[in-house]
Amino acid sequence: MNFFSSKAKQLEGDIDGYLDRVTTAGLIFLEGVRAYVAGKPDKFERNFKEISTLESDADDIRRDIKHKLYTYMLIPESRGDVLGLLETMDDIVDICEKVLEQFSIETPEIPEFLKSDFIELAELSSKAVEEVVKGARAFFREIAMVSNYVNKVHFYEHEADDVEEHLKRAAFNSDEIERFSHKVHMRYFAEKIAAVSDVAESVAERLSVYAIKRRI
């Protein structure tokens, strides 16, 4: 009995650690976008480096959890769900890193009038990530609370969609941006940032199905 519980404790710690990293990824992503938009390239590159390390770190932990899950007395159906959840969570970390990477490579030129929209969009996406991680924690400990967090994720994703649309319209209607390619570039980054909240939402969808399956 003790043997099982110490193993469970370790695995529990690993899962918590993994979820912490997902939350951090969302926060670094937000800080990175803020730094970029504010024109602080050094800070931005630091954030980008941080998130790259975090991403490979999270991958290692996830693989480790996967191995441990197979040797642990978990109910097979739960095992599939837990693995599925962690794997889709990984998409969140991946996309956060990818967006910052795109900023780093393409160095889009963001006009003043779009800056607040970009930051707001990044904030909403980061919020969605934060809530989905809370939902995942609830899945492990307090299943009844999952739907509460899932609802919040839906809310932030919807808000992000609105801001994304607003940003794109502003970009294409503006005379300030002269080149069409520049307008397309703005659209591209708006979509990329909003995609973080989309991924969070798809994780939330899965989460609510798992929660229904586990509900007593």
Partner: protein, 349 residues
């Protein structure tokens, strides 16, 4: 000896089919959803069925004996055979069947054939218990479900811990359920042979005695265990993947409620305790483990607000109360006639 074994064979066959079918009521969900390995389940199930049968099987068998004491070995052979064939037929036809109901029908068939008066008192006690057992099981499941739900929700226990507790719980409750199944249902398998038992009591080094009835129950228990090992896996896989769509914790509650029901109708200790304190006791009657499980599942449905309540299943259960014993009685009557007039065997004294 060979004749004895031959005459016992129908009971052993009935035991085998009981093991093949009823073990799934206890370990079906756990094995079917791969929470417990079949070999582990089969081992625990067999050991505890045998213990339950030998230690606590007498109570429920006694009630069957009061309904009709089949006093010739050849008669007992036919009674058990008629019950076994009824069970086989109905299983093949996909109808829910219970060994308890089949054996009661067959005993009544013998009573009619041998012009023995059927004790209406015993019969009404038995039938009453059949109707009461799924209701009791549903009530227990309903109450246990709410208790367990509250505990799990309040304790905010981590999913990983909950899963390992559930698995351990399924093993422990499975062992208890197997014990109760052995104690409650061994009478169906071997009860009809008690009055004509060919065995003598054995005293082991003056320390303890194994009565002839216990020897019968041991052999019957082994037959059930063989049924568990050879054929129950198939049934468990069907149960796990088909009928049950329960969460692991709910599955545990279902098995626990059904096991308690079987235990209450089999425990002599509890019976003696309650009657000695002038309290109403549960009659010791063999009941159907399948119906107890269906009762528990319905209790859970009710606890969840009455969704998914399967009224067709309820209809099936009540049909089983009538169709099985009547069919089995007719079959026993006809077979006894053949045994007596074609094979020239005494089927009653």
């Amino acid at each position: 000896m060979l004749t004895t074994l031959f005459f016992l064979s129908s009971g052993l066959f009935l035991g085998w089919s009981l093991g093949a079918n009823d073990a799934a009521n206890i370990f079906g969900t756990a094995v079917g959803t791969k929470m417990i390995k079949f070999k582990t389940a089969a081992f625990i199930c067999s050991v505890f069925i045998i213990i339950g049968a030998v230690v606590s099987g007498a109570g429920a068998s006694h009630t069957l004996g009061k309904l009709g004491a089949v006093n010739e070995l050849a008669g007992a052979f036919i009674v058990a055979l008629a019950a076994a064939i009824t069970v086989m037929w109905m299983t093949k036809a996909g109808l829910p069947v219970s060994t308890s109901q089949a054996i009661v029908g067959a005993i009544i068939g013998w009573n009619l054939f041998s012009h023995t008066e059927t004790s209406m008192d015993s019969l009404s006690k038995i039938v009453g218990t059949w109707i009461f057992s799924p209701i009791l099981s549903a009530t227990l499941a309903f109450v246990l479900f709410h208790i367990v739900k509250r505990i799990v929700e309040r304790s905010k226990i981590h999913l990983l811990h909950l899963d390992s507790y559930t698995r351990i719980g399924l093993l422990v409750v499975g062992a208890f359920g197997s014990y109760s199944l052995g104690a409650n249902n061994i009478g169906n398998v071997m009860g009809v042979f008690i009055a004509s038992s060919p065995f003598k009591d054995i005293a082991l080094a003056d320390l303890f005695q194994i009565s002839s009835t216990q020897q019968l129950f041991l052999i019957g228990g082994i037959a059930i265990a063989v049924g568990v090992f050879t054929y129950s896996k198939k049934v468990m896989m069907t149960v796990g993947s088909g009928i049950f769509k329960l969460s692991p914790v709910t599955a545990l509650v279902v098995v626990l409620a059904s096991s308690i029901t079987l235990f209450l109708f089999a425990s002599q200790g509890l019976y003696n305790f309650l009657t000695s304190h002038h309290l109403p006791a549960f009659p010791l009657v063999p009941v159907s483990s399948s119906q107890a499980v269906v009762g528990s599942v319905m209790g859970i449905s009710l606890a969840k607000g009455g969704r998914n309540l399967n009224f067709k299943k309820l209809g099936h259960i009540s049909m089983g109360w009538i169709v099985t014993p009547v069919g089995s009685a007719i079959l026993a009557y006809v077979a006894l006639f053949f045994m007596q007039n074609v094979f020239m065997q005494n089927v009653f004294k």
